[in-house]
């Protein structure tokens, strides 16, 4: 047996989220779910809201989860997780890692009230949001995480609103730990999961998980797109510990947003024969605001 690669020190690969799931090739969410499950370890209960993740990983009789897995409705993953936490307390069992997971729709739109409630009641639950910026499971409808300019089946000429800033909303509940991460930096992502699980109380981690089908890029570009999202400033990576933004990932070399938009089919209409339209400037402005705000 080959010794552990020195490049993979501090990284967990236990295959707690196993092969055989029905995600599309190059799915960012499948990758993220495995990284999260491996980092959390065997002593974990996953409460998963309806969405792509649940659909492709949970069909009976061969679910991909090798940890206890609880499927709930679209809107109540965090309420179910709160219940699991309460049950463990009542039975005086544990400790156990409880991770509520959902897509951006169930986090920002449909399930927002239950998440807000869970944060406010202070359950010892980690909420992980897999942000793929639309309702991918039901056919790429706009969600409140859909960024400006993106085409979805309900915004065929491009979304006209800006993305909801969920990490900040979560932080404003006064919860102890909020972080953002992307699937390309698996070391950072797993570090944040492990760190969050050591903290008592509600935690929120927001993971950018590209969707090759909904975003209209090749499956092989999933990691590359994440990298570009970070390096353009469109997806700032940071932690909020006790209300203070810290550990902001600095952009090594700033990249214009065109580089991020061009490989994606959902932004194709922003380029007329390759020439960027004025919407691209708006997106660049959003990136610049992020860079200024978080001092990227």
């Amino acid at each position: 047996m080959r010794e552990q690669s020195k490049y993979l020190e501090g990284v967990d690969k236990k295959d707690l989220f196993a092969s055989g799931h029905r995600a599309c090739g190059g799915c960012g969410q499948a990758l993220a779910a495995r990284l999260v499950a491996d980092a959390a370890g065997e002593n974990t209960i996953a409460c998963v809201a309806t969405g792509c993740l649940e659909v492709f990983s949970g069909p009976y009789p061969d679910p991909s989860w090798r940890i206890p897995f609880l499927h709930s409705l679209f809107e109540n993953a965090s309420a179910v997780a709160s219940g699991v936490d309460a049950a463990y307390k009542a039975l005086k069992k544990g400790p156990v890692n409880i991770i509520a997971q959902g897509g951006d729709g169930s986090t920002a739109d449909i399930g927002f009230q239950s998440i807000s409630g869970m944060f406010e009641r202070g359950h010892n639950v980690l909420y992980v949001c897999y942000d793929n910026e639309a309702y991918m499971n039901t056919g790429v409808q706009r969600s409140s995480f859909t960024p400006y300019g993106a085409r979805t089946s309900t915004t065929p000429t491009g979304n006209t609103t800006r993305k909801k800033n969920m990490p900040m909303l979560a932080a404003d509940h006064g919860i102890p730990y909020v972080a953002t991460a992307t699937v390309d930096d698996f070391r950072d992502l797993q570090l944040k999961i492990r760190k969050a699980l050591t903290i008592e109380g509600p935690k929120y981690i927001h993971i950018l998980a590209p969707c090759p089908l909904g975003w209209g890029h090749h499956g092989e570009l999933t990691v590359e797109i994440c990298r570009l999202a970070k390096d353009t400033g469109l997806f700032p990576v940071y932690e909020i510990i006790d209300g203070k933004v810290t550990n902001v990932r600095k952009i090594p070399v700033k990249v214009p947003v065109e580089e991020y938009l061009k490989p994606q089919g959902r932004f194709k209409h922003l380029f007329k024969k390759g020439v960027p339209t004025k919407e691209v400037d708006v997106i660049q402005e959003i990136a610049n605001q992020n860079i200024e705000r978080f001092n990227l």
């Binding site: 047996m1 080959r2 295959d15 799931h21 090739g25 499948a30 679910p63 092989e220």
Partner: protein, 550 residues
């Protein structure tokens, strides 16, 4: 039937996972590719192989064995090779190329320090091969044949073996003890050496051909060519080869105060720098400019550092003598016109621009030729030995290589030729066709995903300061730090070969990359791989590629 817990209709532990591999249209494959360094190495060394051995195992001994698979003289090549491998290195486009030449020297020096020994591949064969000349080509050919068990005998015309490495390369570039030790190591393979035997003069060529199964001619280009200028029979006019040979064999050469070297090749640089060390003021006279000089750039730079004067656009017309002794040369200024057949600008004299350069010694380093005394083979351009693609000459069973075939080339090129000739000779004796495996395609930096590599400073070897160089013939570059070389080896991109970074293993959304229990390497689980191509895209060294599903 086993009793299941309440509420379960099926034992989930016995469920066979759904095999998603059937969705695939493209499949990932591991393809080892040729890195540009290996491709560009004239000696055919596995450069990536020895650098990765250094970086991963930190094992100099293993690295030495990787290197000496092809190259019997790593400590020498690490000193004198102009390292075309570094010019090709893909790291050039990222920050700066890996200091391969220094790494090779460190590995070679380690081998000498620890007295590492070459391993024989085949213990004994009865066939006999004669090798004429113990220069790099002859040595390399003898080395590879001896490793394969042949009875090899080397005939050397001069008193000591080594050819141009002994008599041509000055000892500030290649100290004598390095050559001696490296050669002694080769003799241990059971090679016979006979010095002071000039084939064709002391012993007829035909006799060699009759008594041996094959003959390799690696006689080099030992005769200095002169140019057609009057006065070259004066005392203190040397040819470059002759001058270097005299100095290297320890003869006292009185060069006087002013030395003029004519020519712009490597021999000219060596002569100039040797004369400088003998205490003279040296000027190099060349009829074109620095750009057209055939010498290795680093050599010209070092010569300039050592205050060798360069006179460009200058052509000698006549050597002026006084009582059979040189007092100077008459030279004329040239201007460059449209390129000639060699592709270099054609110099044309400017009328009335004659001037005299004072000189106590004139060294004509204006080219070398093969000394064919008693060896009759077909020639190319009436200069070099003509050999076919198997390096066989016009005589059956007589092979040739090195400078005598290539024209003036490097030590590593000669080693490469020796290696090729050895394999051709083996096939000739075995009566087979030379089997040459086609090497996989070369990988260039545009194919790599350099995101995962870190910028790191290149190892810089330190030369002696100038005031310490010119008083003696000590080596210009003192011994290298073995630890620093391991750090340098870690800069290698490992182009086209897995270096266990684990990206494919971590990034596969389907967990379809596994660690093989047999080999310990990463392998694809094609039952589950959906063929998304993420592993190939994120493979830093492009070891993984996508191909069409079979």
């Amino acid at each position: 039937m086993e009793k299941l817990p309440l509420g379960l209709a099926l034992d989930l532990r016995k469920v066979v996972p759904y095999e998603t591999g059937s969705w695939r249209t493209l499949m990932p494959v591991n393809i080892m590719q040729t890195p540009p360094c290996n491709q560009d190495c004239p000696a055919g060394n596995d450069i990536r192989g020895f650098l990765r051995t250094l970086a991963e195992k930190k094992d100099y001994e293993a690295a030495w064995h990787v290197l000496t698979r092809t190259n019997p003289l790593p400590a020498i090549c690490g000193r004198v090779c102009p390292h075309p491998c570094e010019d090709g290195c893909n790291r050039r486009d990222f920050d700066s190329p890996v200091a391969i030449n220094s790494a090779e020297r460190a590995v070679g020096d380690y081998g000498l320090e620890e007295n590492l020994e070459h391993k024989k591949l085949i213990a004994h064969r009865k066939e006999k091969v004669a090798v004429i000349g113990s220069g790099p080509a002859g040595l390399s050919c003898a080395f590879h044949l001896a490793k394969r068990g042949f009875q090899v005998k080397i005939f050397e015309a001069y008193g000591e073996p080594g050819g141009m490495m002994r008599y041509g390369i000055p000892s500030y570039r290649l100290p004598n003890y390095v050559l001696r030790q490296e050669l002694e190591n080769i003799w241990k393979l059971g090679i016979e050496l006979e010095c002071n035997i000039k084939v064709g003069v002391n012993i007829p060529m035909d006799q060699l051909i009759q008594t041996h199964d094959a003959v390799f001619v690696g006689i080099g280009a030992q005769t200095g060519l002169t140019i057609d200028i009057p006065g070259q029979d004066a005392g203190n006019v040397f040819s470059g080869v002759e001058f270097l040979r005299d100095v290297n064999s320890g003869k006292y050469v009185d060069v006087g105060k002013d030395v003029v070297v004519i020519g712009g090749g490597n021999t000219a640089m060596d002569c100039a720098r040797v004369a400088k060390r003998l205490g003279a003021n040296v000027s190099v006279v060349y009829r074109r400019t620095r750009v057209e000089m055939p010498a290795i750039t680093a050599e010209i730079d070092e010569a300039m550092e050592e205050r060798v004067m360069f006179r460009y656009h200058t052509n000698p017309v006549k050597i002026i003598q006084d009582d059979d002794k040189v007092v100077g040369i008459l030279s004329v200024q040239m201007e460059l016109k449209e390129p000639d057949a060699s592709g270099r600008a054609r110099p044309v004299p400017i009328p009335g621009s004659e001037s005299v350069i004072p000189a106590d010694t004139v060294i004509l380093a204006t080219g070398q030729a093969v000394d064919y005394d008693g060896i009759e083979v077909h020639k190319r351009d009436n200069k070099w030995i003509s050999a076919n693609e198997n390096l066989m000459t016009s005589i059956d069973g007589v092979f040739a290589g090195g400078d005598a075939v290539l024209g003036l080339e490097t030590v590593s090129a000669a080693i490469g030729q020796g290696t090729r000739a050895a394999s051709a000779i083996e096939d000739y004796i075995d009566g087979g066709v030379e089997s040459r495996l086609s090497s996989p395609p070369v990988i260039y930096s545009k194919d790599l995903n350099t995101y995962y590599y870190n910028k790191k400073r290149r190892f810089q070897k330190e030369a002696l300061p100038i005031h310490m160089r010119l008083k003696h013939f000590k080596e210009l570059y003192p011994a290298l730090d073995f630890e620093a070389i391991i750090d340098e080896a870690e800069r290698c991109f490992s182009c086209g070969l897995c270096f266990n970074c684990g990206n494919c293993f971590m990034y596969c959304p389907d967990n379809a990359v596994r660690i093989s229990e047999k080999t310990g390497l990463y392998e694809f689980d094609l039952d589950f791989c959906k063929g998304c191509g993420l592993c190939a895209k994120e493979c830093p060294c492009r070891y993984i590629q996508m191909t069409l599903e079979k």
